[in-house]
């Protein structure tokens, strides 16, 4: 039933935008209950023939499409160096700031990614405690959510009992996040939002956080090394760092850049730079060199038709990583190092060989 329902909302908006383009009226995609029947079979996407012009219609178009890579539109161009946030990019997405909390809107893939990221964070954090309060498994933990956006990930973590600090450089995002949590008295107390960048709070939060979460952020960071260093400074010894991001592979270039930006025009050209995508190997080497030992790397796959994410062996598109800050004592053997997926650069390396870890460390 839900499949049909989601398809019909997708189809409704698809049809609505087609109509709006034909008739040049203000697009109102949703009110098409009567056409629900006809458009159920028209889910297949047809490429636009006209070159994309940044216009009202295009915003309508991409708002209306629940495509695989809608989440690439995230309005975070995160900077940890002196360079400021790119204002022209931010303007593009300010129009969408109020759409953060629409579970069927542009950010639907991010909402459904919570089904993977929240259990990932929760289960890995629960491993570090002996016992937990049922109902509030993360109570007593302090978590820093870097690049929190509208608070999509901060709120579930808050509901699980953690004290969350959410930071984002975009003021509008923080305003939306504040507004959304203000209606829930329990969350209001547990979550704190601040419009700032990571290095601005490193001093005051040094070594206080049990976990730092940087979800869909590192592919926008200019200086990854400094970013990871700051994350490490904020963490308590033994604290966890959770990262979800996009791999730098031919596949992510083909689907993420060529398809989404140049062919489909879903993502405005230049939003993503393939050069800034981070491969798991590079991420791990930076993490290890900063005293963070990588525990898990797992691939994530999004099914645009169902709207759900799945864990996968393949890390060539999206992946999640969990690393733990060393406690300062010598640990002879790092914990289980799970490396999944192949990329062009690593075709010659044996993916399941523990010797890979030694090679990376060199």
């Amino acid at each position: 039933m839900w499949g049909g329902r989601k398809l019909s909302s997708f189809g409704n908006r698809f049809l609505g935008v087609l109509r709006s383009r034909c008739w040049s009226t203000q697009a109102e995609g949703a009110r098409l209950t009567s056409s629900a029947g006809e458009c159920q079979n028209q889910v297949s996407w047809t490429p636009q023939t006209k070159p994309w012009v940044f216009s009202e219609y295009r915003i309508m178009w991409f708002k209306s499409c629940r495509m695989t890579f809608a989440f690439y539109l995230l309005p975070r161009l995160y900077s940890t160096s002196q360079t400021t946030v790119d204002n022209s990019e931010i303007k593009t997405f300010l129009a969408l700031a109020h759409r953060w909390w629409d579970e069927q809107g542009v950010y639907a893939p991010l909402h459904s990614m919570n089904d993977l990221r929240v259990p990932f964070i929760r289960d890995n954090l629960l491993k570090t405690v002996a016992h937990h309060q049922s109902g509030k498994p993360l109570s007593g933990m302090k978590i820093l959510d870097v690049g929190c956006g509208g608070g999509l990930l901060s709120e579930p973590l808050g509901r699980l009992g953690a004290s969350v600090i959410g930071i984002d450089p975009v003021d509008e995002n923080i305003k939306i996040a504040q507004h959304h949590k203000s209606f829930d008295p329990v969350l209001d107390k547990r979550i704190e939002y601040r419009a700032c960048s990571l290095e601005e709070i490193v001093e005051e939060t040094a070594e206080t956080c049990d976990a730092v979460v940087a979800s869909e952020v590192v592919e926008h960071v200019i200086d990854l090394e400094t970013f990871i260093q700051c994350c490490c400074q904020v963490l308590k010894p033994g604290g966890s760092l959770f990262i979800t991001t996009i791999n730098k592979t031919q596949l992510s270039y083909a689907l993420g850049i060529v398809f989404s930006e140049q062919i489909a025009g879903i993502v405005p050209k230049g939003t993503h730079t393939w050069e800034k995508f981070v491969s798991p190997e590079k991420l791990e080497s930076i993490l290890e060199s900063n005293g963070l030992s990588v525990q898990t790397v797992a691939g994530m796959l999004y099914n645009p038709l169902s709207g759900y994410w799945h864990w996968s062996e393949n890390t060539s598109l999206n992946y999640a990583a969990h690393a733990v800050k060393s406690t300062g004592q010598e640990h002879p053997v790092p914990a289980e190092f799970v490396f999944k997926g192949e990329t062009e650069e690593l075709r010659d390396k044996d993916s399941t060989n523990p010797g890979v870890q030694e090679e990376l460390k060199k």
Partner: protein
């Protein structure tokens, strides 16, 4: 513009004109109250109370606030009354598992219930019958009085009163639904106004308020329903002699099915679905005549015709030839001696099914979502099945820190239950219509159908498995 991009399913205010005063997505811009409940269950009947109980005892709901609204008064018993109540339910093993998951089944065992091991269902117009029993002599189901179940649930709710608040004599008079996503200054929660003027806010409203559900009407959910031209007469009967009494009997008369459900060694409960006039007659007639009518309904072969009898004998011999194992001979139920005074009551029957079980921040369970004929004894079991499924989905959502009113898991519940319930409703309705006639072709069809089903054990097992979930 943003609001108009809302999912078409919402059918928001502009198109809801003409549906009635309660059926709009009114914006709530009142002051923020202090408590926001996580779940409010509207309706404290068997299914609503079970829902509140199950959530109260769920491990992932330990820091959540749950409220149960019940329009009636709190029913307290100092001790178990000696007379049996005339409203009983057949509880399937699956429902018993749910009730024991939060400790209510233990209370029921300490009070009273009756397990039955076999069920015989047969036709008034022919010799055909079907006998259900479990090979390993497990209980097929339990006959429990509704009051006993309610008392057990109330006791368990009292034990968890720090998490579950119960408001008796409280009826909701209106509901205000939120917009699909947060607009400036509009509350994202469901607001409920009670009869005394107080208001509540909740993240998820569960409608368990029966087949005339106020919640369902306020949400504007379409309900497919029709009234059967039948009323059910219930009574508590005393048997002529004490027997083992662990068999449930049901005979399909042309006017409707009559069922005898065991309560104890000497008592059984009657459920007789028949036309409105006949039902009124039965409730009004004197005791002796009533008892005679019941006995002849079960024993008399007046509706048999030679044609059907010979046709069924033919099939029976074919079956006996192909499967020369036990041939179940038709047994007769125990005879009835007298009826409990003042235990004869009638109530009308109908079918109902809600087109949607869920909306954002709303879920329907029990009779609010589906109403069925009692001939299969499935009404409350379907409700308990809804409770099981919804608690499972909500528990997983709570453990993932999700917003409880989010459609992503509510649609999972809806899919699960609509699949099961629609099949059962359709089958029950079909059986009711098939057995409401004494026209020869249909009688022949159902005679042969019943005999064939009786002969095919895997098919019987499938039916029993489906009904005992």
């Amino acid at each position: 513009m943003a609001a108009r991009l809302a999912v078409s399913r919402w059918r928001a205010a502009p198109s809801a004109a003409g549906r009635g005063p309660l059926l709009s997505c009114r914006r709530w811009s009142g002051a923020k109250a202090d408590t926001v409940y996580d779940v409010v269950v509207s309706g404290g009947g068997l299914v609503g109370a079970a829902m509140a109980c199950a959530l109260g005892y769920d491990i992932h709901f330990h820091d959540k606030k749950i409220l149960l609204l019940e329009a009636g008064p709190k029913k307290v018993w100092e001790k178990l009354p000696e007379t049996y109540s005339n409203r009983v339910s057949s509880i399937s093993p699956g429902s018993a598992t749910l009730l024991s998951s939060f400790g209510a089944w233990d209370h029921i065992c300490n009070m009273r219930y009756r397990a039955f091991r076999r069920m015989q269902v047969w036709d008034a117009c022919s010799e055909a019958l079907i006998m259900f029993d479990k090979d390993n002599l497990d209980d097929m189901g339990y006959i429990v009085e509704n009051d006993v179940i309610m008392c057990a649930l109330t006791k368990q709710l009292e034990a968890v009163s720090d998490r579950v608040t119960v408001l008796y004599r409280s009826k909701a008079v209106s509901y205000t639904w939120p917009y699909p996503f947060t607009m400036a200054d509009s509350s994202p929660w469901v607001h409920i106004t009670l009869g005394d003027g107080s208001t509540l806010q909740t993240k998820l409203l569960i409608g368990a308020d029966g087949h005339n559900s106020g919640v369902r009407q306020a949400a504007g959910i379409q309900n497919v329903s029709w009234n059967y031209d039948q009323s059910a007469v219930v009574a508590t009967l005393h048997l002529s002699e004490a027997t083992e009494n662990n068999v449930a009997w049901q005979r399909f008369l042309p006017s409707g099915p009559i069922a005898l459900l065991p309560l104890s060694d000497t008592l059984s409960s009657l459920v007789w679905s028949t036309s409105h006039e006949h039902a009124a007659e039965l409730v009004g007639m004197d005791e002796e005549k009533f008892v005679d009518t019941i006995n002849s309904a079960f024993w008399s072969d007046a509706n048999h015709t030679d044609f059907i009898d010979s046709a069924s004998t033919v099939l029976q011999s074919v079956v006996g030839f192909l499967r020369p194992t036990k041939v179940s001979a038709r047994q007769l139920p125990p005879s009835v001696a007298r009826v409990d005074a003042r235990s004869r009551v009638l109530f009308p029957l109908g079918l109902g099914h809600a087109a949607e079980y869920v909306r954002p921040r709303l879920a329907l369970i029990g009779d609010a979502a589906h109403r069925v004929h009692p001939l299969a004894g499935q009404g409350v079991n379907m409700g308990f099945g809804d409770v099981s499924s919804l608690v499972h989905h909500l528990s997983a959502a709570a453990f993932n820190g999700k917003d409880l009113g989010s459609m992503s898991h509510l649609t999972g519940y809806e899919t699960d239950r609509q699949r099961h319930n629609t099949a059962l409703l359709a089958a029950t309705d079909l059986l009711k219509r098939l057995y409401s006639t004494s026209a020869a072709p249909l009688v022949l069809l159902r005679t042969w159908g019943l005999q064939a089903t009786n002969a095919v054990s895997p098919l019987k097992e499938q039916i029993m498995a489906f009904a005992s979930k």
